[in-house]
């Protein structure tokens, strides 16, 4: 489903991603782990086509994202949900309008249906009653959950979440992890999350990939990682 081949990316001489390869089969949930600042967000943005890699290619559903013109990319992205690390909500719209935006743009649903769907998804992310608030009136964790609601409101084939659980309390983190897993399995979408929260990454994912200095040092299931002899892997998941 998602196929990342030899992706290279550097910012002003500093190499962030160094010939990354990754194959994610359809329906799988993959967690990308790594220390802060190793390039997890950069990798996710590259997969989404928001950053242009210096070399290599990203294929989603057989379509080469890196070569696509912007118009086509926009079309393709209707099928991809993306959660930004900071939420990236429109601050001139309230929570309701933010979440309803993709529905208004890409579906022909009636006002009533939109309202029902939005209130429903707000209930799912445990945020009932905030629909009239503006993003500046929300806490960081609430913004993130609204962002998540906005990215899952259209049934997507691919869901990319940048640190869905950072900045949330332990209980919410678990709830959100379970939520992502439920949603992803229910609509059978391929999901990639980034995280440095080991416990929840294990909880969410089918497989994990550990990024360090521009390369994956380990890719595999929880058992694979736990039985790894690599010192860094041991240290990281301890």
């Amino acid at each position: 489903m998602i196929n990342v081949e030899n992706i290279k990316k550097s910012f002003s001489g500093q190499v962030i991603l160094d010939e990354i390869n990754l194959k994610i089969p359809s329906g799988e949930i993959l967690a990308i782990l790594g220390e802060s600042g190793t390039g997890k967000s950069v990798l996710l943005k590259t997969i989404m086509g928001l950053l242009k890699p210096d070399g290599g290619k990203v294929e989603i559903d057989g379509v080469n994202m890196t070569k696509l013109p912007e118009r086509k990319k926009l079309d393709l992205r209707k099928k991809i949900g993306y959660l930004f690390q900071e939420g990236a909500l429109y601050d001139f719209m309230n929570v309701f309008e933010n979440i309803a935006f993709p529905l208004k743009e890409h579906t022909k649903l009636s006002r009533g249906d939109i309202k029902e769907k939005v209130l429903n998804v707000l209930k799912v992310v445990d945020l009932e009653g905030v629909e009239a608030k503006y993003p500046t009136e929300l806490s960081g964790g609430m913004k993130k959950r609204v962002g998540l609601a906005r990215s899952i409101i259209l049934d997507c084939k691919v869901l990319l979440c940048d640190e869905p659980t950072s900045g949330l309390d332990p209980i919410r983190s678990r709830d959100i992890s379970d939520l992502i897993r439920d949603v992803s399995k229910k609509i059978n979408c391929t999901t990639v999350i980034t995280s440095h929260d080991i416990e929840n990454a294990f909880r969410v994912s089918d497989r994990l990939a550990l990024l360090r200095e521009g390369k994956f040092v380990a890719i595999g299931t929880q058992q694979d990682l736990e039985s790894s002899e690599d010192l860094f892997v041991k240290d990281f998941i301890r």
Binding site: K45, M48, L50, E70, R71, K73, L74, D75, L76, R77, K78, I80, Y82, F84, E86, A88, L89, Y90, D91, F101, P102, E105, H106, R150, S151
Partner: protein
Amino acid sequence: MNVIIKPCINFIFSLGRAFCFLGEVLWCIISGRIRFGELLKQIYEQGLQSVVIIALTSLASGIVLALQGYVMMVRFGAKEYIAQLVALSLVRELSPVFTALIFSGKAGARIAAELGTMNVNDQMLATRTLGVDPIEFLVAPRMLACILVLPLLTVFSEIVGIAGGYYIGVHEANIPSSFYINQTLKSIRFVDFFSGFAKIIFFSGIVGWVCCYQGYSTKGGSLGVGKYTTNAVAYSYILVIVFNTILTKVILTLWE
């Protein structure tokens, strides 16, 4: 040598990018991808925001013109010509330039700061992840609103300014009211109005383009927003003043 060549190349590249951006926005507008809801909102906000200060400036310039004109004209015993002086100065020169400058300082700065902040907070990127073109959704309505609102504000400014002149002419200089109005209407020929209007159409394009472009290309956090917003206003000021000079010369050569 490098010291000269490098900035020149940079300048040419950034000019190229600015023109590409303009092309994209115009293409979006021409191909009919206009969001009328957003457009109306922008027209309302941009117009409302600058209307008071423009009214104030125009009224003041009309009054000052009439007062100074009166002092001068009375020396030649030609105080009846105050009406012409006020109307022609406002319509041909002062209103278009003042309105464009004030508008870029208020609405233009706002456009740049809004777009810049959205850029810095990833809202621009988020728009693309939602499968929507930020040019179509965020930029085009702002630029189009600017192009539509500025000429209207200019006409408004001309009327207010002339009213200010009328007040002085009638109450200070004791010119009969009907005579003043008559003189004003007679003095403004189509060419006068049109030459001012041609200017403002041009300025509105420049202000919209510069401010939207600066906002759209903002990077570097809150510092960046500050820098690009200041650039937006400064560049619009410079361009408006320079092009006013050029256009005045061109129009005078063509029509007089």
